[in-house]
């Protein structure tokens, strides 16, 4: 199951990579347009902040969790027995799953409220909606929680 989750998490990371690619393209076009033609693109900073950044970070979060790439300190690794390490790893994964689910629930609530109100940053000619960025925060935490829960089960199972 873990292998399948790692595989599926690649699609989410791909979405994050796409957000980074679009961010690069959007900002470069804005700079070229304002430097060469004195016509800046309207709303570049808003698109970057509201759309690209949340997608670049939170869509990638599940891949970080799936590959155990969260920043952590492996100081006591060598002091623990294999079994103690598995129990500790399972407990930590469970803790991440609970926290991820809690954050997914509450940030999801905020995203639903934002979508219901049609929250957006209004510019002169158009507006940048803020709910997709808020929604991906919740989805990102939710997927992280699912993967962490699967990791916890996997580690407990391996112990027995």
């Amino acid at each position: 199951m873990i292998d399948r989750l790692v595989h599926w998490s690649r699609y989410a990371t791909g979405l994050a990579a796409l957000a980074v690619a679009l961010m690069i393209l959007h900002v470069v076009i804005d700079i070229l347009s304002r430097t060469l033609f004195d016509r800046p693109l309207l709303g570049t900073a808003e698109f970057v902040a509201e759309i690209y950044m949340p997608f670049a970070i939170f869509a990638a979060l599940v891949g970080v969790q799936a590959q155990d790439a969260q920043i952590r300190v492996d100081l006591i690794d060598r002091l623990l027995s294999t079994r103690a390490r598995r129990v500790l790893d399972a407990a930590i994964a469970l803790c991440i799953a609970v926290i991820g689910a809690f954050l997914a629930w509450h940030t999801g609530d905020q995203a639903i409220v934002a979508a219901g109100r049609g929250e957006s940053i209004d510019l002169i000619r158009f507006s940048v909606p803020s709910w997709p960025g808020k929604a991906i925060v919740s989805v990102g935490f939710g997927l992280m929680a699912v993967v962490a829960a699967a990791q916890a089960v996997d580690r407990m199972h391996r112990r027995s």
Binding site: A17, M23, I24, V48, A49, I57, R72, V73, I99
Partner: protein, 432 residues
């Protein structure tokens, strides 16, 4: 128990959780959340803390992190830095410890494309360690110079730690970028001088490299890194784009150059962007936890109390910053350097601010401290990175012993930075 006491206990709990291998971001955020529930109603804490992930990261300023990480990842995936490294090796081949000096200079040059110490160590080490070992270099020197050369990337712009510090400490990213240049180059020269002296005194450490062992080819790619550095820093200096936008321009130019390389296509470009996104998520996840902790610390009043105490005891500012080195070394033994920096920003920055320090200078000193933490045991992440690209017979103690000499050079550089703040501040004050 007073809120200040609670804050102190919360910090200790955070450190214990991190030592127990809880991810740093989770440990900091959890402690902040639970701590805040003792001071505010639960619903208020939920509202205060769960808004942080979106509000903190949906930010124009933070876009510099993925953009510069993308630039570095594209440069490394396309091998755009490899031939410049070969050229430097040929130029300094006859110097005592020539290949080690070249590796060190390559670390500084790679730092101009990458903002990450670990990525730079791995990239430099992958190329340099096998070559140095083939030429009979002492293993500790060969792997040690790669571990240390990587730390230069955190000072030489663009630098991810400096971007994150600038945002949390509300300082100008551009000023911090320019402030990092002279200390970064000074460190590279101090390393080079130390290698030259050691290898002149003991030539068996590093025999002169055979010309046929070095790459002979030189193509246009040798100008890729200097070109990126000139475009990024020149554009910021000329005011054509902001430091954050410079990341997009750098990544765009790196993409164009990479696509000219044989074998580099859309698939590898996408792999590089995927890697940049994942590293961004891992770094900013810690930063989210740290920001929650900063909010909680402000609620407890601990930083303000510390600042009051320092004033009351009339601690001299210089003693405080030198003394804080001991705290960083101590925390660096248990925490990852990024966690150390973010914790220190949450707790110590108000103290430094109250004492009238230039926070740009403080930022450079803090990054210097955490970079030293990257090469000192037991948690020396750069040493681990060097180990990961070394042959199995080079053990961690061998690399740590090799690194010890570089710490002597670091002490020398720190003494200069303490004694002459102008070394750090001259460039940003002159240019910006």
């Amino acid at each position: 128990m007073s809120p200040v006491d609670q804050g102190g206990i919360a910090l200790l709990v955070a450190i214990v959780l991190i030592v127990l291998r809880v991810p740093v971001g989770i440990a900091l955020g959890l402690v902040a959340f639970v701590g805040a529930t003792a001071l505010l109603p639960f619903s208020a804490v939920v509202s205060l803390m769960t808004r942080v992930p979106y509000e903190f990261t949906a930010s124009w300023e933070f876009s510099a992190v993925p953009l510069f990480l993308a630039m570095g990842a594209i440069v490394f995936h396309a091998g755009l830095a490899d031939e410049l490294f070969g050229l430097v090796q040929r130029l300094v081949r006859r110097l005592p410890g020539g290949l080690a000096v070249a590796t060190n200079l390559a670390g500084a040059a790679f730092g101009a494309a990458s903002g990450s110490s670990l990525a730079t160590t791995a990239a430099v080490g992958r190329l340099a360690i096998p070559q140095m070992l083939r030429n009979g270099y002492q293993p500790g020197l060969a792997a040690g110079v790669c571990a240390c050369a990587g730390t230069l990337a955190a000072l030489i712009p663009p630098s991810i730690p400096l971007i994150v510090y600038a945002i949390l400490a509300e300082q100008s990213i551009a000023r911090l970028f320019f402030a990092g240049i002279v200390p970064g180059l000074l460190t590279a020269f101090a390393y080079a001088a130390m290698i030259l002296i050691r290898c002149r005194l003991n030539p068996t450490l590093a025999p002169t490299a055979r010309r046929e062992d070095l790459p002979a080819r030189t193509s246009w790619t040798v100008i890729a890194l200097p070109l990126l550095a000139v475009i990024v820093l020149g554009g910021i200096y000329a005011g054509v784009f902001s430091p954050g936008e410079a990341g997009a321009v750098g990544a765009g130019v790196a993409t164009l150059l990479a696509l000219l390389q044989p074998g580099f296509g859309p698939r590898r470009l996408f792999d590089a962007l995927r890697e940049a996104a994942k590293t961004t998520a891992a770094i900013l996840f810690v930063a989210i936890g740290a920001f929650m902790l900063t909010r909680y610390m402000a609620l407890t009043g601990l930083p303000a109390t510390l600042a009051d105490l320092v004033e009351l005891w009339s601690v001299s500012p210089m003693l405080l910053i030198v003394g804080s080195a001991a705290l960083f070394v101590l925390l660096g033994m248990f925490l990852d350097p990024f966690g150390v920096m973010l914790l220190s920003v949450a707790v110590l920055l108000p103290v430094f601010e109250r004492l009238g320090f230039d926070l740009v200078w403080v930022g450079i000193i803090i990054v210097k401290y955490i970079e030293i933490g990257l090469i000192t045991p037991p948690v020396g992440l750069n040493v681990f990175a060097a180990k990961s690209v070394s042959p199995p017979e080079i053990t961690l103690p061998v690399i740590f012993r090799g690194v010890a000499w570089f710490l002597v050079a670091e002490a020398f550089v720190l003494a200069i930075l303490f004694a002459f703040p102008g070394v750090t501040l001259w460039l940003p004050n002159t240019l910006l």
